[in-house]
Protein backbone atom coordinates (compact mmCIF):
# COMPACT_ATOMS: atom_id res chain seq x y z
CA UNK A 1 0.00 0.00 0.00
CA UNK A 2 2.73 2.45 0.97
CA UNK A 3 4.78 1.30 -2.03
CA UNK A 4 1.85 1.88 -4.34
CA UNK A 5 1.30 5.29 -2.81
CA UNK A 6 4.92 6.32 -3.30
CA UNK A 7 4.94 5.09 -6.89
CA UNK A 8 1.75 6.89 -7.72
CA UNK A 9 2.94 10.09 -6.03
CA UNK A 10 6.25 10.01 -7.91
CA UNK A 11 4.44 9.56 -11.21
CA UNK A 12 2.14 12.46 -10.40
CA UNK A 13 5.00 14.64 -9.21
CA UNK A 14 7.03 14.14 -12.39
CA UNK A 15 3.99 14.74 -14.59
CA UNK A 16 3.32 17.88 -12.56
CA UNK A 17 6.43 19.55 -14.04
CA UNK A 18 5.02 19.07 -17.53
CA UNK A 19 1.59 20.34 -16.46
CA UNK A 20 3.33 23.33 -14.95
CA UNK A 21 5.16 24.02 -18.20
CA UNK A 22 1.91 24.06 -20.19
CA UNK A 23 0.29 26.31 -17.61
CA UNK A 24 3.26 28.66 -17.64
CA UNK A 25 2.51 29.52 -21.25
CA UNK A 26 -1.06 30.43 -20.38
CA UNK A 27 0.05 32.36 -17.33
CA UNK A 28 2.65 34.34 -19.26
CA UNK A 29 0.11 35.43 -21.85
CA UNK A 30 -2.38 36.39 -19.16
CA UNK A 31 0.25 38.24 -17.18
CA UNK A 32 1.43 40.30 -20.13
CA UNK A 33 -1.83 41.13 -21.91
CA UNK A 34 -4.74 39.94 -19.72
CA UNK A 35 -5.96 37.59 -22.43
CA UNK A 36 -7.20 34.11 -21.56
CA UNK A 37 -5.95 32.07 -24.45
CA UNK A 38 -8.66 29.57 -25.34
CA UNK A 39 -6.48 28.35 -28.23
CA UNK A 40 -3.99 26.96 -25.72
CA UNK A 41 -5.21 23.36 -26.07
CA UNK A 42 -4.83 23.18 -29.86
CA UNK A 43 -1.33 24.66 -29.55
CA UNK A 44 -0.47 21.83 -27.14
CA UNK A 45 -1.87 19.45 -29.77
CA UNK A 46 0.36 21.09 -32.39
CA UNK A 47 3.37 20.22 -30.21
CA UNK A 48 2.20 16.61 -29.91
CA UNK A 49 1.49 16.25 -33.63
CA UNK A 50 4.75 17.86 -34.75
CA UNK A 51 6.74 15.48 -32.57
CA UNK A 52 4.71 12.53 -33.84
CA UNK A 53 5.01 13.44 -37.52
CA UNK A 54 8.75 14.10 -37.27
CA UNK A 55 9.20 10.76 -35.52
CA UNK A 56 7.10 8.72 -37.91
CA UNK A 57 8.14 10.29 -41.21
CA UNK A 58 11.73 11.39 -40.57
CA UNK A 59 12.61 9.10 -37.70
CA UNK A 60 13.67 12.08 -35.62
CA UNK A 61 14.29 11.40 -31.95
CA UNK A 62 11.36 12.92 -29.99
CA UNK A 63 13.72 14.76 -27.64
CA UNK A 64 15.66 16.33 -30.51
CA UNK A 65 12.31 17.27 -32.05
CA UNK A 66 11.76 19.60 -29.09
CA UNK A 67 13.88 22.24 -30.83
CA UNK A 68 11.73 22.12 -33.96
CA UNK A 69 8.56 22.09 -31.87
CA UNK A 70 9.73 25.18 -30.00
CA UNK A 71 10.22 27.00 -33.31
CA UNK A 72 6.82 25.90 -34.62
CA UNK A 73 5.14 26.99 -31.38
CA UNK A 74 6.79 30.41 -31.46
CA UNK A 75 5.80 31.09 -35.08
CA UNK A 76 2.27 29.80 -34.52
CA UNK A 77 1.89 32.08 -31.52
CA UNK A 78 3.08 35.09 -33.50
CA UNK A 79 0.62 34.30 -36.29
CA UNK A 80 -2.28 33.87 -33.84
CA UNK A 81 -1.43 37.14 -32.14
CA UNK A 82 -1.21 39.13 -35.37
CA UNK A 83 -4.32 37.70 -37.02
CA UNK A 84 -6.70 37.19 -34.11
CA UNK A 85 -5.62 38.87 -30.90
CA UNK A 86 -4.06 42.20 -31.77
CA UNK A 87 -7.27 43.88 -32.89
CA UNK A 88 -9.18 42.94 -29.74
CA UNK A 89 -6.41 43.43 -27.21
CA UNK A 90 -8.10 46.47 -25.67
CA UNK A 91 -11.69 45.31 -26.24
CA UNK A 92 -13.81 43.73 -23.47
CA UNK A 93 -12.80 40.23 -22.36
CA UNK A 94 -15.55 38.57 -24.37
CA UNK A 95 -13.87 39.60 -27.63
CA UNK A 96 -10.47 38.12 -26.87
CA UNK A 97 -12.06 35.00 -25.35
CA UNK A 98 -14.14 34.40 -28.45
CA UNK A 99 -11.34 35.39 -30.85
CA UNK A 100 -8.98 32.82 -29.33
CA UNK A 101 -11.82 30.30 -29.23
CA UNK A 102 -12.32 30.91 -32.96
CA UNK A 103 -8.63 30.08 -33.47
CA UNK A 104 -9.21 26.94 -31.42
CA UNK A 105 -12.05 25.92 -33.76
CA UNK A 106 -10.00 26.70 -36.87
CA UNK A 107 -6.95 24.66 -35.78
CA UNK A 108 -9.01 21.68 -34.59
CA UNK A 109 -11.22 21.87 -37.69
CA UNK A 110 -8.20 21.68 -39.98
CA UNK A 111 -6.60 18.86 -37.97
CA UNK A 112 -9.86 16.97 -37.98
CA UNK A 113 -10.12 17.24 -41.77
CA UNK A 114 -6.46 16.33 -42.35
CA UNK A 115 -5.57 13.79 -39.65
CA UNK A 116 -8.94 12.58 -38.35
CA UNK A 117 -9.63 11.63 -34.74
CA UNK A 118 -7.45 8.51 -34.49
CA UNK A 119 -5.17 7.82 -31.57
CA UNK A 120 -1.47 8.38 -32.27
CA UNK A 121 1.32 6.85 -30.29
CA UNK A 122 5.04 7.63 -30.45
CA UNK A 123 6.54 4.18 -30.25
CA UNK A 124 9.80 5.07 -28.57
CA UNK A 125 10.44 3.36 -25.29
CA UNK A 126 13.43 3.93 -23.05
CA UNK A 127 12.55 1.35 -20.44
CA UNK A 128 12.23 2.25 -16.81
CA UNK A 129 14.28 2.95 -13.75
CA UNK A 130 13.83 0.63 -10.79
CA UNK A 131 15.13 1.36 -7.32
CA UNK A 132 13.88 -1.26 -4.89
CA UNK A 133 10.08 -1.03 -5.19
CA UNK A 134 10.11 2.33 -6.97
CA UNK A 135 9.42 2.11 -10.69
CA UNK A 136 9.67 5.16 -12.95
CA UNK A 137 9.77 5.19 -16.74
CA UNK A 138 12.69 7.12 -18.21
CA UNK A 139 10.35 8.98 -20.56
CA UNK A 140 8.55 10.46 -17.56
CA UNK A 141 11.84 11.35 -15.90
CA UNK A 142 13.16 13.01 -19.07
CA UNK A 143 9.91 14.90 -19.57
CA UNK A 144 10.18 16.32 -16.07
CA UNK A 145 13.83 17.24 -16.62
CA UNK A 146 12.94 18.87 -19.95
CA UNK A 147 10.23 20.91 -18.28
CA UNK A 148 12.63 22.07 -15.58
CA UNK A 149 15.27 22.98 -18.18
CA UNK A 150 12.79 25.04 -20.20
CA UNK A 151 11.61 26.78 -17.03
CA UNK A 152 15.19 27.71 -16.15
CA UNK A 153 15.71 29.09 -19.65
CA UNK A 154 12.50 31.10 -19.40
CA UNK A 155 13.55 32.53 -16.06
CA UNK A 156 17.01 33.51 -17.33
CA UNK A 157 15.45 35.00 -20.45
CA UNK A 158 12.87 37.08 -18.58
CA UNK A 159 15.30 38.39 -15.97
CA UNK A 160 18.64 38.72 -17.75
CA UNK A 161 18.00 39.72 -21.36
CA UNK A 162 16.87 43.04 -22.74
CA UNK A 163 13.80 41.67 -24.55
CA UNK A 164 12.92 39.58 -21.52
CA UNK A 165 13.03 42.67 -19.36
CA UNK A 166 10.82 44.56 -21.81
CA UNK A 167 8.28 41.73 -21.61
CA UNK A 168 8.18 42.17 -17.85
CA UNK A 169 7.96 45.92 -18.25
CA UNK A 170 4.96 45.64 -20.58
CA UNK A 171 3.32 43.17 -18.22
CA UNK A 172 3.82 45.62 -15.39
CA UNK A 173 2.47 48.71 -17.14
CA UNK A 174 2.01 48.82 -20.87
CA UNK A 175 1.64 52.58 -21.21
CA UNK A 176 4.65 53.38 -19.08
CA UNK A 177 6.70 50.86 -21.03
CA UNK A 178 5.66 52.54 -24.29
CA UNK A 179 6.73 55.91 -22.91
CA UNK A 180 10.12 54.41 -22.17
CA UNK A 181 10.46 53.55 -25.85
CA UNK A 182 9.57 49.86 -25.68
CA UNK A 183 7.77 48.79 -28.88
CA UNK A 184 4.78 47.29 -27.06
CA UNK A 185 3.11 45.65 -30.06
CA UNK A 186 6.26 43.70 -30.84
CA UNK A 187 6.68 42.72 -27.20
CA UNK A 188 3.04 41.59 -26.95
CA UNK A 189 3.39 39.48 -30.10
CA UNK A 190 6.62 37.99 -28.76
CA UNK A 191 5.01 37.14 -25.42
CA UNK A 192 2.14 35.41 -27.17
CA UNK A 193 4.71 33.51 -29.23
CA UNK A 194 6.62 32.50 -26.10
CA UNK A 195 3.43 31.36 -24.40
CA UNK A 196 2.61 29.19 -27.40
CA UNK A 197 6.17 27.89 -27.47
CA UNK A 198 5.84 26.69 -23.88
CA UNK A 199 2.49 25.04 -24.68
CA UNK A 200 3.88 23.30 -27.76
CA UNK A 201 6.96 22.04 -25.91
CA UNK A 202 4.76 20.75 -23.10
CA UNK A 203 2.61 18.97 -25.70
CA UNK A 204 5.71 17.42 -27.21
CA UNK A 205 6.86 16.12 -23.82
CA UNK A 206 3.40 14.74 -23.06
CA UNK A 207 3.37 12.88 -26.38
CA UNK A 208 6.47 10.95 -25.30
CA UNK A 209 4.57 9.66 -22.25
CA UNK A 210 0.97 9.13 -23.39
CA UNK A 211 -0.76 8.32 -26.67
CA UNK A 212 -2.88 11.20 -27.94
CA UNK A 213 -5.59 12.28 -30.38
CA UNK A 214 -5.99 15.71 -31.97
CA UNK A 215 -8.43 16.57 -29.17
CA UNK A 216 -6.00 15.69 -26.36
CA UNK A 217 -4.83 19.28 -25.97
CA UNK A 218 -8.23 20.31 -24.57
CA UNK A 219 -7.97 18.54 -21.19
CA UNK A 220 -4.44 19.94 -20.72
CA UNK A 221 -5.76 23.43 -21.45
CA UNK A 222 -8.34 22.95 -18.70
CA UNK A 223 -5.68 21.62 -16.34
CA UNK A 224 -3.64 24.71 -17.17
CA UNK A 225 -6.53 26.90 -16.03
CA UNK A 226 -6.69 25.05 -12.73
CA UNK A 227 -2.92 25.30 -12.29
CA UNK A 228 -2.84 29.01 -13.13
CA UNK A 229 -5.46 29.71 -10.52
CA UNK A 230 -3.66 27.60 -7.92
CA UNK A 231 -0.36 29.31 -8.64
CA UNK A 232 -1.73 32.79 -9.25
CA UNK A 233 -2.71 34.01 -12.73
CA UNK A 234 0.08 35.88 -14.44
CA UNK A 235 2.80 34.38 -12.28
CA UNK A 236 4.78 31.93 -14.49
CA UNK A 237 6.88 30.47 -11.69
CA UNK A 238 3.77 30.02 -9.55
CA UNK A 239 2.42 27.97 -12.43
CA UNK A 240 5.19 25.43 -11.97
CA UNK A 241 4.28 25.01 -8.31
CA UNK A 242 0.61 24.81 -9.23
CA UNK A 243 1.50 22.07 -11.71
CA UNK A 244 3.27 20.09 -9.01
CA UNK A 245 0.28 20.44 -6.68
CA UNK A 246 -2.05 19.19 -9.42
CA UNK A 247 0.29 16.35 -10.33
CA UNK A 248 0.50 15.22 -6.70
CA UNK A 249 -3.28 15.46 -6.36
CA UNK A 250 -3.71 13.25 -9.40
CA UNK A 251 -1.36 10.75 -7.83
CA UNK A 252 -3.12 10.90 -4.50
CA UNK A 253 -6.86 11.07 -5.22
CA UNK A 254 -7.22 7.71 -7.06
CA UNK A 255 -6.18 5.94 -3.86
CA UNK A 256 -9.42 6.95 -2.14
CA UNK A 257 -11.91 7.18 -4.97
CA UNK A 258 -12.35 6.04 -8.59
CA UNK A 259 -10.13 7.87 -11.11
CA UNK A 260 -13.18 9.30 -12.87
CA UNK A 261 -13.87 11.48 -9.81
CA UNK A 262 -10.51 13.26 -10.18
CA UNK A 263 -11.86 16.05 -12.45
CA UNK A 264 -14.77 16.68 -10.06
CA UNK A 265 -12.32 17.33 -7.23
CA UNK A 266 -9.94 19.32 -9.44
CA UNK A 267 -12.53 21.67 -10.85
CA UNK A 268 -14.40 21.91 -7.58
CA UNK A 269 -11.17 23.05 -5.95
CA UNK A 270 -10.56 25.40 -8.88
CA UNK A 271 -13.89 27.19 -8.45
CA UNK A 272 -13.43 27.24 -4.69
CA UNK A 273 -9.98 28.84 -4.90
CA UNK A 274 -11.23 31.37 -7.46
CA UNK A 275 -14.08 32.42 -5.21
CA UNK A 276 -12.09 32.48 -1.97
CA UNK A 277 -8.78 33.82 -3.22
CA UNK A 278 -8.87 34.82 -6.90
CA UNK A 279 -5.22 35.88 -6.87
CA UNK A 280 -4.20 32.27 -6.33
CA UNK A 281 -2.91 30.28 -3.40
CA UNK A 282 0.54 31.75 -3.80
CA UNK A 283 -0.86 35.26 -3.72
CA UNK A 284 0.48 37.01 -6.80
CA UNK A 285 -0.35 40.68 -7.07
Amino acid sequence: MVHQLINSLTDGFLLGFVYGLAAMGLSLIWGVMSVINLAHGPVITVGMLTTYLLFVHLGLNPYLALVVVAGVGLVLGLVIYITAVHRVISAPHLSSLLATFAVNMIILGIFNAVFGGDQNNIDYSLGSLSIDFLNVTYSRLLAALGAVAVTVFLYLYLYFTRTGKSIRAVANNREAAELMGIPSTRVLALSFGLGSLLAAVAGSLISTIFPFTIFSGGPYELKSFVICVLGGLGNPLGALLGGLILGLMEGLIPIWMPTSWVPVVEFGLFVFVLVVKPTGLLGAK
Binding site: R87, L94, L98, A99, M105, L222, S260, F267, V275
Partner: protein
Protein backbone atom coordinates in the same frame (compact mmCIF):
# COMPACT_ATOMS: atom_id res chain seq x y z
CA UNK B 1 -45.97 49.86 -18.56
CA UNK B 2 -44.31 52.06 -21.16
CA UNK B 3 -42.48 49.00 -22.48
CA UNK B 4 -45.69 47.43 -23.76
CA UNK B 5 -46.50 50.41 -25.97
CA UNK B 6 -43.40 50.15 -28.12
CA UNK B 7 -43.64 48.45 -31.52
CA UNK B 8 -40.47 46.34 -31.26
CA UNK B 9 -41.73 43.82 -28.72
CA UNK B 10 -45.04 43.24 -30.50
CA UNK B 11 -43.28 42.65 -33.80
CA UNK B 12 -40.96 39.99 -32.39
CA UNK B 13 -43.68 38.26 -30.41
CA UNK B 14 -46.04 38.30 -33.39
CA UNK B 15 -43.33 36.80 -35.60
CA UNK B 16 -42.60 34.03 -33.09
CA UNK B 17 -46.31 33.30 -32.57
CA UNK B 18 -46.94 33.20 -36.31
CA UNK B 19 -44.00 30.84 -36.76
CA UNK B 20 -45.33 28.37 -34.20
CA UNK B 21 -48.88 28.54 -35.53
CA UNK B 22 -47.57 27.92 -39.03
CA UNK B 23 -45.67 24.83 -37.88
CA UNK B 24 -48.80 23.47 -36.19
CA UNK B 25 -50.96 24.16 -39.26
CA UNK B 26 -48.54 22.63 -41.79
CA UNK B 27 -48.30 19.50 -39.61
CA UNK B 28 -44.91 18.52 -41.03
CA UNK B 29 -42.65 16.50 -38.68
CA UNK B 30 -39.40 17.59 -40.39
CA UNK B 31 -40.35 21.25 -40.12
CA UNK B 32 -41.32 20.64 -36.49
CA UNK B 33 -37.93 19.13 -35.66
CA UNK B 34 -35.99 21.99 -37.31
CA UNK B 35 -38.20 24.55 -35.62
CA UNK B 36 -37.77 22.78 -32.29
CA UNK B 37 -33.98 23.12 -32.48
CA UNK B 38 -34.16 26.71 -33.71
CA UNK B 39 -36.62 27.81 -31.01
CA UNK B 40 -34.60 26.04 -28.35
CA UNK B 41 -31.55 28.03 -29.39
CA UNK B 42 -33.58 31.24 -29.51
CA UNK B 43 -34.59 30.60 -25.90
CA UNK B 44 -31.05 29.73 -24.85
CA UNK B 45 -29.45 32.68 -26.59
CA UNK B 46 -32.07 35.14 -25.34
CA UNK B 47 -31.65 33.92 -21.76
CA UNK B 48 -27.86 34.03 -21.84
CA UNK B 49 -28.11 37.48 -23.39
CA UNK B 50 -29.85 38.71 -20.24
CA UNK B 51 -26.60 38.01 -18.40
CA UNK B 52 -24.01 38.66 -21.08
CA UNK B 53 -25.55 41.39 -23.19
CA UNK B 54 -26.97 43.49 -20.39
CA UNK B 55 -24.12 43.10 -17.90
CA UNK B 56 -21.00 42.04 -19.82
CA UNK B 57 -20.42 38.99 -17.59
CA UNK B 58 -19.09 36.27 -19.90
CA UNK B 59 -20.51 32.94 -18.78
CA UNK B 60 -19.37 29.62 -20.20
CA UNK B 61 -21.51 27.85 -17.65
CA UNK B 62 -24.96 28.69 -18.99
CA UNK B 63 -25.40 25.20 -20.35
CA UNK B 64 -24.80 23.74 -16.88
CA UNK B 65 -28.18 25.06 -15.73
CA UNK B 66 -29.78 23.96 -18.98
CA UNK B 67 -28.27 20.51 -18.50
CA UNK B 68 -28.95 20.16 -14.78
CA UNK B 69 -32.53 21.35 -15.19
CA UNK B 70 -33.00 18.95 -18.06
CA UNK B 71 -31.45 16.06 -16.16
CA UNK B 72 -33.61 16.75 -13.11
CA UNK B 73 -36.81 16.88 -15.16
CA UNK B 74 -35.83 13.78 -17.07
CA UNK B 75 -34.95 11.94 -13.89
CA UNK B 76 -38.32 12.80 -12.34
CA UNK B 77 -40.23 11.65 -15.42
CA UNK B 78 -38.33 8.46 -16.12
CA UNK B 79 -37.33 7.19 -12.67
CA UNK B 80 -39.80 8.78 -10.27
CA UNK B 81 -42.63 8.60 -12.83
CA UNK B 82 -43.83 12.15 -12.37
CA UNK B 83 -46.02 13.72 -14.99
CA UNK B 84 -44.27 15.94 -17.56
CA UNK B 85 -45.48 19.36 -16.42
CA UNK B 86 -44.53 19.25 -12.73
CA UNK B 87 -41.29 17.50 -13.68
CA UNK B 88 -40.35 20.18 -16.22
CA UNK B 89 -41.23 22.86 -13.71
CA UNK B 90 -39.23 21.15 -10.96
CA UNK B 91 -36.28 20.82 -13.35
CA UNK B 92 -36.46 24.53 -14.12
CA UNK B 93 -36.73 25.50 -10.46
CA UNK B 94 -33.81 23.20 -9.66
CA UNK B 95 -31.68 24.76 -12.42
CA UNK B 96 -32.58 28.25 -11.22
CA UNK B 97 -31.77 27.30 -7.64
CA UNK B 98 -28.34 25.96 -8.54
CA UNK B 99 -27.76 29.03 -10.73
CA UNK B 100 -28.78 31.31 -7.89
CA UNK B 101 -26.46 29.64 -5.39
CA UNK B 102 -23.52 29.51 -7.78
CA UNK B 103 -24.28 33.07 -8.89
CA UNK B 104 -24.07 34.29 -5.30
CA UNK B 105 -20.61 32.77 -5.12
CA UNK B 106 -19.07 33.62 -8.48
CA UNK B 107 -20.79 36.85 -9.56
CA UNK B 108 -18.55 38.74 -7.19
CA UNK B 109 -15.67 37.85 -9.49
CA UNK B 110 -15.11 40.18 -12.40
CA UNK B 111 -14.12 40.02 -16.02
CA UNK B 112 -11.83 37.17 -16.92
CA UNK B 113 -11.92 35.66 -13.42
CA UNK B 114 -15.68 35.22 -13.73
CA UNK B 115 -15.27 33.63 -17.17
CA UNK B 116 -12.66 31.23 -15.79
CA UNK B 117 -14.86 30.28 -12.85
CA UNK B 118 -17.72 29.42 -15.20
CA UNK B 119 -15.40 27.23 -17.26
CA UNK B 120 -14.53 25.46 -14.01
CA UNK B 121 -18.19 25.05 -13.09
CA UNK B 122 -18.82 23.67 -16.56
CA UNK B 123 -16.15 21.01 -16.20
CA UNK B 124 -16.95 20.15 -12.59
CA UNK B 125 -20.63 19.68 -13.43
CA UNK B 126 -19.89 17.55 -16.46
CA UNK B 127 -17.48 15.35 -14.53
CA UNK B 128 -19.98 15.11 -11.68
CA UNK B 129 -22.90 14.04 -13.86
CA UNK B 130 -20.61 11.52 -15.56
CA UNK B 131 -20.11 9.88 -12.18
CA UNK B 132 -23.48 10.43 -10.55
CA UNK B 133 -25.32 7.09 -10.42
CA UNK B 134 -28.93 8.31 -10.10
CA UNK B 135 -28.43 10.27 -13.34
CA UNK B 136 -27.14 7.18 -15.12
CA UNK B 137 -23.44 8.07 -15.01
CA UNK B 138 -21.61 8.21 -18.33
CA UNK B 139 -24.39 6.45 -20.23
CA UNK B 140 -27.09 8.87 -19.13
CA UNK B 141 -30.79 8.21 -18.75
CA UNK B 142 -33.22 6.86 -21.30
CA UNK B 143 -36.95 7.18 -21.29
CA UNK B 144 -39.21 4.17 -20.96
CA UNK B 145 -41.35 4.06 -24.09
CA UNK B 146 -44.52 3.43 -22.04
CA UNK B 147 -44.26 6.96 -20.60
CA UNK B 148 -45.50 8.35 -23.92
CA UNK B 149 -48.81 6.60 -23.30
CA UNK B 150 -50.09 9.35 -20.99
CA UNK B 151 -49.63 11.94 -23.74
CA UNK B 152 -51.39 9.98 -26.48
CA UNK B 153 -48.40 8.21 -28.03
CA UNK B 154 -44.95 9.36 -29.07
CA UNK B 155 -46.16 11.50 -32.01
CA UNK B 156 -48.42 13.58 -29.78
CA UNK B 157 -45.67 13.84 -27.18
CA UNK B 158 -43.27 15.30 -29.74
CA UNK B 159 -45.84 17.91 -30.76
CA UNK B 160 -46.39 18.70 -27.10
CA UNK B 161 -42.65 19.17 -26.60
CA UNK B 162 -42.54 21.51 -29.57
CA UNK B 163 -45.42 23.54 -28.17
CA UNK B 164 -43.65 23.90 -24.83
CA UNK B 165 -40.35 24.97 -26.37
CA UNK B 166 -42.26 27.46 -28.50
CA UNK B 167 -43.95 28.97 -25.43
CA UNK B 168 -40.69 29.10 -23.49
CA UNK B 169 -38.89 30.86 -26.35
CA UNK B 170 -41.64 33.51 -26.47
CA UNK B 171 -41.64 33.95 -22.69
CA UNK B 172 -37.84 34.30 -22.64
CA UNK B 173 -37.86 36.93 -25.37
CA UNK B 174 -40.62 38.92 -23.64
CA UNK B 175 -38.74 38.65 -20.34
CA UNK B 176 -35.51 39.86 -21.86
CA UNK B 177 -37.41 42.76 -23.45
CA UNK B 178 -39.07 43.74 -20.19
CA UNK B 179 -35.80 43.48 -18.31
CA UNK B 180 -34.17 45.73 -20.86
CA UNK B 181 -36.92 48.31 -20.37
CA UNK B 182 -37.26 48.04 -16.61
CA UNK B 183 -35.28 49.63 -13.84
CA UNK B 184 -33.84 46.22 -13.02
CA UNK B 185 -32.71 46.14 -16.65
CA UNK B 186 -31.21 49.59 -16.36
CA UNK B 187 -29.46 48.29 -13.29
CA UNK B 188 -28.05 45.39 -15.28
CA UNK B 189 -26.88 47.71 -18.05
CA UNK B 190 -25.27 49.88 -15.42
CA UNK B 191 -23.36 46.86 -14.12
CA UNK B 192 -22.01 46.47 -17.59
CA UNK B 193 -20.93 50.07 -17.77
CA UNK B 194 -19.63 50.49 -14.31
CA UNK B 195 -20.09 47.96 -11.61
CA UNK B 196 -18.75 50.12 -8.83
CA UNK B 197 -21.04 53.02 -9.56
CA UNK B 198 -23.99 50.66 -9.85
CA UNK B 199 -23.29 49.13 -6.47
CA UNK B 200 -23.23 52.54 -4.93
CA UNK B 201 -26.65 53.14 -6.41
CA UNK B 202 -27.85 50.07 -4.58
CA UNK B 203 -28.08 47.51 -7.33
CA UNK B 204 -27.17 44.12 -6.02
CA UNK B 205 -24.60 42.56 -8.31
CA UNK B 206 -25.27 38.88 -7.60
CA UNK B 207 -28.69 38.35 -9.12
CA UNK B 208 -30.51 35.28 -10.25
CA UNK B 209 -30.10 33.65 -13.58
CA UNK B 210 -33.22 31.52 -13.62
CA UNK B 211 -34.85 30.19 -16.73
CA UNK B 212 -36.93 27.16 -17.37
CA UNK B 213 -35.07 25.27 -20.05
CA UNK B 214 -36.37 21.73 -20.35
CA UNK B 215 -34.30 19.50 -22.55
CA UNK B 216 -32.68 16.14 -22.16
CA UNK B 217 -29.13 17.00 -23.20
CA UNK B 218 -26.02 18.09 -21.40
CA UNK B 219 -23.71 19.24 -24.15
CA UNK B 220 -21.26 21.80 -22.81
CA UNK B 221 -19.99 22.83 -26.21
CA UNK B 222 -23.36 24.56 -26.57
CA UNK B 223 -22.35 27.25 -24.07
CA UNK B 224 -19.87 28.63 -26.53
CA UNK B 225 -22.17 28.16 -29.50
CA UNK B 226 -24.77 30.18 -27.66
CA UNK B 227 -22.20 32.93 -27.09
CA UNK B 228 -21.45 32.89 -30.80
CA UNK B 229 -25.14 33.31 -31.61
CA UNK B 230 -25.40 36.33 -29.34
CA UNK B 231 -22.28 37.91 -30.83
CA UNK B 232 -23.56 37.27 -34.33
CA UNK B 233 -26.93 38.89 -33.73
CA UNK B 234 -25.74 41.65 -31.46
CA UNK B 235 -25.25 41.47 -27.71
CA UNK B 236 -27.44 43.53 -25.44
CA UNK B 237 -30.30 43.71 -27.95
CA UNK B 238 -33.55 41.78 -27.80
CA UNK B 239 -33.68 40.92 -31.48
CA UNK B 240 -29.98 40.02 -31.71
CA UNK B 241 -30.11 36.59 -30.04
CA UNK B 242 -33.16 35.64 -32.14
CA UNK B 243 -31.47 36.54 -35.41
CA UNK B 244 -28.15 35.11 -34.22
CA UNK B 245 -29.65 31.77 -33.18
CA UNK B 246 -31.60 31.39 -36.42
CA UNK B 247 -28.75 32.29 -38.76
CA UNK B 248 -26.06 30.33 -36.88
CA UNK B 249 -28.17 27.17 -36.87
CA UNK B 250 -29.00 27.54 -40.56
CA UNK B 251 -25.37 28.17 -41.44
CA UNK B 252 -24.18 25.17 -39.47
CA UNK B 253 -26.87 22.97 -41.02
CA UNK B 254 -25.76 24.08 -44.46
CA UNK B 255 -22.06 23.49 -43.76
CA UNK B 256 -22.74 20.03 -42.30
CA UNK B 257 -24.60 18.70 -45.32
CA UNK B 258 -22.65 20.44 -48.06
CA UNK B 259 -20.20 17.91 -49.57
CA UNK B 260 -17.64 20.63 -50.19
CA UNK B 261 -17.46 22.00 -46.64
CA UNK B 262 -18.49 18.95 -44.62
CA UNK B 263 -15.08 18.00 -43.28
CA UNK B 264 -14.05 21.59 -42.73
CA UNK B 265 -17.23 22.89 -41.11
CA UNK B 266 -15.59 23.43 -37.72
CA UNK B 267 -12.72 25.42 -39.23
CA UNK B 268 -15.11 27.49 -41.36
CA UNK B 269 -17.35 28.29 -38.38
CA UNK B 270 -14.18 29.41 -36.62
CA UNK B 271 -13.15 31.71 -39.47
CA UNK B 272 -16.66 33.14 -39.57
CA UNK B 273 -16.67 33.79 -35.82
CA UNK B 274 -13.26 35.42 -35.96
CA UNK B 275 -14.35 37.76 -38.77
CA UNK B 276 -17.42 38.87 -36.79
CA UNK B 277 -15.42 39.56 -33.64
CA UNK B 278 -12.69 41.44 -35.46
CA UNK B 279 -14.80 43.49 -37.84
CA UNK B 280 -18.46 43.57 -36.71
CA UNK B 281 -18.21 43.38 -32.91
CA UNK B 282 -21.68 44.90 -32.43
CA UNK B 283 -23.33 42.07 -34.38
CA UNK B 284 -25.95 42.36 -37.12
CA UNK B 285 -28.51 44.30 -35.08
CA UNK B 286 -25.92 46.62 -33.57
CA UNK B 287 -24.53 47.34 -37.02
CA UNK B 288 -27.99 48.06 -38.47
CA UNK B 289 -28.85 50.34 -35.56
CA UNK B 290 -25.65 52.22 -36.13
CA UNK B 291 -26.09 52.55 -39.88
CA UNK B 292 -29.81 53.28 -40.00
CA UNK B 293 -30.80 55.54 -37.15
CA UNK B 294 -34.47 55.44 -38.22
CA UNK B 295 -34.69 51.73 -37.49
CA UNK B 296 -33.79 52.23 -33.85
CA UNK B 297 -37.44 52.37 -32.81
CA UNK B 298 -38.05 48.86 -34.11
CA UNK B 299 -34.67 47.18 -33.57
CA UNK B 300 -34.39 46.82 -29.85
Amino acid sequence: MRALKQPGLWLYVAALVAWGVMVFLLDDPTLRETSFTLLMYVGLAASLNILLGYTGYVSFGHIVFFGLGGYMGFYLVSIQEWSLYPAALAGGVFGALVAGLLGLAVLRLRGAYFALATIGINEAARAFVNNFRPFGGATGLSLNYAVYGQYGGSMKALWLAFGLVWLIAIVTVVTSYLIKQSRFGLGLMAIREDEDAAMVMGVKAPFKNGNVEPHDAFRLHMSIETLVMIMLGGQGTVLGPIIGALSYERLRGYLLVSPLFKSLHLALSGVFLLLIILFVPAGVVGWLRHRFAKLRGILE
